[in-house]
C-alpha cells in the first residue's frame, strides 16, 4: 500500500510538471553572436558556455532573433549582413540560409525579428541596385517570410536607418526603431502604416528633440517591454538629459513612456539603458554600470566596468544583469547590489550593435 501511494505520488508529480507552463521548468540560455561567424550558447544558471556553433559561409555573425514559439531555432544575420542563417540550437548547426541579395541587387540588413507565434520572420532590407558603373539606392523595405514554408509573403516600403524591429505580442503590428526618427508601426498583414509614435518629434514645449534607440533587443524575454536610453535636448539651454524610454508591446496602442533621469555630462556618462520589468529599476552601461530608480531619478548604485560594455541586459528572471555586445566576454552582475558575479569568456569578440545578445527559454 505504501509503495502504491509512492507510485501515485510520483505519477501526480510528473503530471503536475507537464501541466506547468514551459517557462517554469525550462532554463534560460543567453545567445551571443561573435566574430568571425559563431553563435555561442550560455547556460545562465551556471553562466558557462555550453555550445559554440560555427555558422556556414562568411561572418560576421550579427543580429539574433530567437523563435519564442520554437526555441530550438534562432535566426542570425551573417555573410557580411547579406543573409539570415537559421540555426538549430539543439543540433548545434546551421540548417538554412535566407540570402537577401540577387544578381543585380545588393541587399544588407541591420534588423530582424521573429514574432511571438514563431510564424513570421521580419527583415529590414537596404537594397542597392547594381548596374554597369552605377549604384542606385532603392527604397528600404520590410520582407515578411512565412516560417512554415520559408517563402516571402509580402514586402513593403520602410523608413531608412532602421536598426531595430519588434513585434507586438499578438503579432499584428511591427515596430520600427531607427536613428533620429520617430517609431513607425506597420501592419504585419498588409504592411500598411498604422501609426507613428513621436520620439524625435515629441512636440513638447521646452524640448528640442529626443533621441533614443533600443540597442538591446531583449523585449520578448522581458514580457514584451521594449526599453532604451533616451537623450532629451532642452530647446533653450541645449542641455541634454539622460532618460529611460519604454514601450509595452502587450498593449494594442502602447504609450511611449520617457522618464528623464540625470544630466548627460562629459566625464561621467553612460549610453545604453534597459528597464527591469520586475523591479522597474533602470540599468545603464558604458564605462560604468548604473542602477537608477526612475521614481526618485537618483543613481542608487554605480560600479566601474573593467572595460567598455555597450549593452546592459536584464536577465528574464530579473536577478542578474548581463553586460556585453562588444567584448570577448560577458560580465554578469547582481541586479540588486551590482556586485560582479562572474565573467563568461566567449572565446571570440562580439561585434557590437543591436541584438547581438538575446535570451531564449529552452
Amino acid at each position: 500500500m505504501h509503495g502504491k501511494n509512492r507510485l501515485l505520488g510520483g505519477v501526480l508529480f510528473v503530471l503536475g510538471l507537464l501541466v506547468l507552463p514551459q517557462t517554469t521548468w525550462a532554463k534560460w540560455y543567453l545567445l551571443a553572436s561573435t566574430h568571425p561567424n559563431n553563435l555561442v550558447v550560455v547556460d545562465t544558471e551556471t553562466d558557462t558556455v555550453v555550445k559554440d556553433i560555427a555558422l556556414e559561409g562568411r561572418g560576421p555573425a550579427l543580429y539574433i532573433a530567437p523563435n519564442p514559439a520554437q526555441p530550438q531555432f534562432a535566426y542570425v544575420v551573417n555573410n557580411l549582413a547579406k543573409s539570415v542563417a537559421m540555426v538549430d540550437l539543439d543540433e548545434g548547426k546551421q540548417v538554412k540560409s535566407f540570402d537577401l541579395s540577387s544578381d543585380n541587387e545588393l541587399v544588407r540588413t541591420m534588423a530582424i525579428d521573429v514574432n511571438m507565434q514563431g510564424t513570421r520572420l521580419f527583415v529590414h532590407e537596404m537594397p542597392i541596385q547594381q548596374d554597369m558603373g552605377r549604384y542606385t539606392a532603392r527604397d528600404n523595405r520590410i520582407r515578411v517570410i512565412d516560417l512554415e514554408t520559408n517563402e516571402t509573403l509580402i514586402t513593403f516600403t520602410a523608413p531608412r536607418q532602421v536598426m531595430g524591429l519588434a513585434s507586438s505580442k499578438d503579432g499584428k503590428r511591427l515596430y520600427l526603431f531607427s536613428v533620429g526618427q520617430d517609431i513607425f508601426v506597420h501592419s504585419t498583414e498588409d504592411g500598411s502604416l498604422l501609426d507613428v509614435i513621436p520620439l524625435a518629434n515629441r512636440n513638447i514645449s521646452g524640448i528640442a528633440r529626443t533621441d533614443g534607440l533600443p540597442l538591446g533587443g531583449t523585449y520578448q524575454e522581458s514580457g514584451h517591454l521594449v526599453s532604451f536610453g533616451t537623450f532629451t535636448t532642452d530647446s533653450i539651454t541645449n542641455q541634454v538629459t539622460l532618460g529611460i524610454g519604454s514601450l509595452d508591446l502587450t498593449q494594442e496602442d502602447p504609450e511611449l513612456k520617457i522618464v528623464e533621469l540625470q544630466p548627460f555630462v562629459e566625464g561621467d556618462y553612460v549610453l545604453t539603458g534597459a528597464l527591469s520589468p520586475h523591479t522597474n529599476k533602470a540599468y545603464f552601461a558604458y564605462n560604468s554600470l548604473w542602477k537608477v530608480d526612475p521614481k526618485t531619478r537618483h543613481i542608487e548604485k554605480k560600479v566601474s566596468l573593467s572595460n567598455t560594455y555597450f549593452a546592459p541586459l536584464v536577465h528574464p528572471e530579473g536577478k542578474k544583469v548581463y553586460c556585453g555586445s562588444n567584448w570577448h566576454d560577458v560580465a554578469v552582475y547582481d541586479a540588486e547590489s551590482l556586485d560582479l558575479i562572474t565573467k563568461v569568456p566567449l572565446g571570440h569578440s562580439q561585434t557590437g550593435g543591436v541584438s547581438v545578445l538575446r535570451f531564449v527559454n529552452r
Partner: protein
C-alpha cells in the same frame, strides 16, 4: 514667384535657377550602408558627444569590431562589410594578445591609367 510669369530672358533664367535649386527628388540619402557609407552622422570616431576625448571606449579596441562590422565610421575604421572584409581575419578572438595581428588597410588606387 508662383503668380509671376517670366517676361524676358533674365527672368526666365531666375525661374530656371529656382527650379534647379528645389529638385523634386532627393539627391542625398541618409544611411546607405550597403556600399560602405556611414551608418549615422556622428561627428567622428573616438570623439565623445561633446567633441572631447574623455571617457572614451576603454580600451580603444573595445570599439574596433563594432565600428568596422556595422560600417559605423568607415573613414576611421576599416569598413569590413564592403571594402575591407579581411581586415580582422588575423585576430578573430580579439583577445589582447592578438590585436597586433590586425591588418593594415591602404586606400585603393586606380592603376589602370
Amino acid at each position: 514667384m508662383k503668380h509671376l510669369k517670366a517676361a524676358n530672358s533674365k527672368a526666365r533664367a531666375v525661374t530656371a535657377s529656382v527650379t534647379r535649386a528645389t529638385p523634386t527628388e532627393e539627391d542625398v540619402i541618409g544611411m546607405a550602408q550597403p556600399i560602405g557609407c556611414t551608418t549615422i552622422f556622428n561627428p567622428g570616431w573616438e570623439a565623445n558627444p561633446w567633441g572631447g576625448a574623455s571617457s572614451m571606449c576603454a580600451p580603444m579596441e573595445a570599439d574596433l569590431l563594432s565600428c568596422a562590422n556595422l560600417c559605423w565610421w568607415p573613414a576611421q575604421v576599416p569598413d569590413s562589410l564592403q571594402n575591407a572584409p579581411e581586415w580582422a581575419k588575423g585576430c578573430s578572438g580579439m583577445n589582447q594578445e592578438d590585436w597586433r595581428n590586425l591588418d593594415v588597410v591602404f586606400p585603393k588606387t586606380d592603376t589602370s591609367g
